[in-house]
Amino acid sequence: MAGAVAIWSSIAAFWVVEPVSYYPILGIPGTYLAFISGNISNLRLPASAVAQEAAGVEPGTPKGSIISTLGISTSILINVTFLTIGVFAGSAALESLPDIITNALDYILPALFGAIFANFAKDRPKIGVIALTISIIMTALMNRGYLSFLPGIPSYAVIIVSVFGTIFISKKLFEKGIIE
């Protein structure tokens, strides 16, 4: 139980924030598929977003939802294939992969997140700037220990404030006519 409590306190915020934030892109069947297969922010969401962008459909529409589902299902098929081959190839075979490849893999995630963020921000740059500012400030605060009055690892505070803060500010700015 102790282990469970530890992991819950670290990631419980994500249980709420992730479905809420990603649902508009994933669509209803997409959200279900994505959560049942996991690895959402690093694989399912990019697959869904890229598929919709490439097919030229608008997220949140029925067509968007179909394409998103297609994208996510494809990512599942590819991912599971890779993992299955990998697990049966055995750790010995995998560990003998050249160092250069394994080192590079560390950098896939930052490159991925940068690209996805840019992809969404290009359509709404003002919101992108707001989101980035809020989360950089929050992350800086957390790194300097200002958030340590919160239980556990406060990264949940960062994501909650980033997501809901951005929503709140964008809404206010929209009402003032600064964003449309």
Binding site: G56, A104, Y107, A118
Partner: protein, 231 residues
């Protein structure tokens, strides 16, 4: 009994295999249904093909990264569970942390010589319980998310996409700001990934180059991480 014997035993493979099979079957069912329904809705064949191709190419990079994560898991908690966790509900970024918390809770460091069957079991429980939250929440609340979205937007049609974008951008800003502040090679990877993506997407929009959209994410990721080899 050595915990690795348990971890890699046949019953574990069967249990893990069942979960993975479930996901695979669902993916296949959804693909076929989506194609059928999509055509009924008026989606063109090229759109469907493009969707499949673009997500396939974009899945390769992240799948490799997940594979790398699986290797670390493999060594400590055995094949069946790592395979299962990363195909079913789990997220590579959290599983290692969860497994670590699990073993710590019984006073053992993940991967050390003291790993016992109990520590292993605890690790598994922790990972699964951690993943359950996501599933519970999305299963119970997904249908309400649409009404939530409309409510927050006060019914204003224009506000709805803004709310959606804000949520997305907020979430991904969180993912990126950590790396931005670290100011190291991952920052470079991030920035390059972002810039390349921007350039590619703008070009493909202006000149209507279909294949660029399909390969865009994959190229941006690849450039982002290989840039680090130049220095």
């Amino acid at each position: 009994m050595d915990y690795l014997e348990i971890a890699n035993s046949t019953p574990m493979w069967i249990a893990a295999g069942t979960a993975v099979l479930l996901v695979l079957v669902e993916a296949i069912i959804f693909v076929r249904k989506s194609i059928k329904d999509g055509k009924k809705m008026g989606l063109k064949d090229e759109q469907i093909k493009t969707a499949i191709k673009s997500s396939a190419y974009s899945s390769i990079g992240p799948s490799l990264a997940i594979l790398a994560g699986m290797i670390s898991l493999l060594v400590t908690i055995g094949g069946p569970i790592s395979w299962m966790r990363l195909s079913f509900i789990g997220s590579v970024m959290f599983e290692l942390m969860a497994a670590g918390f699990g073993t710590e809770a019984v006073g053992v460091e993940l991967g050390s010589a003291n790993m016992s069957a109990t520590a292993y079991a605890t690790a598994v429980w922790t990972m699964v319980l951690g993943g359950m939250g996501w599933i519970l929440f999305s299963a119970l609340f997904t249908d309400k998310l649409e009404s939530l979205r409309t409510k927050v937007a006060d019914g204003s049609k224009k506000l709805i996409p803004i709310i959606s974008s804000s949520a997305m951008l907020g979430a991904f800003a969180y993912m990126t700001s950590d790396k931005i502040l670290m100011v190291d090679r991952s920052t470079i990877a991030l920035a390059v990934g972002a810039v390349v993506m921007l350039i590619l997407m703008t070009i493909s929009d202006k000149k209507d180059i279909g294949w660029l959209k399909e390969w865009g994410l994959a190229i941006s990721m690849f450039t982002g991480y290989s840039i680090n080899f130049c220095f």
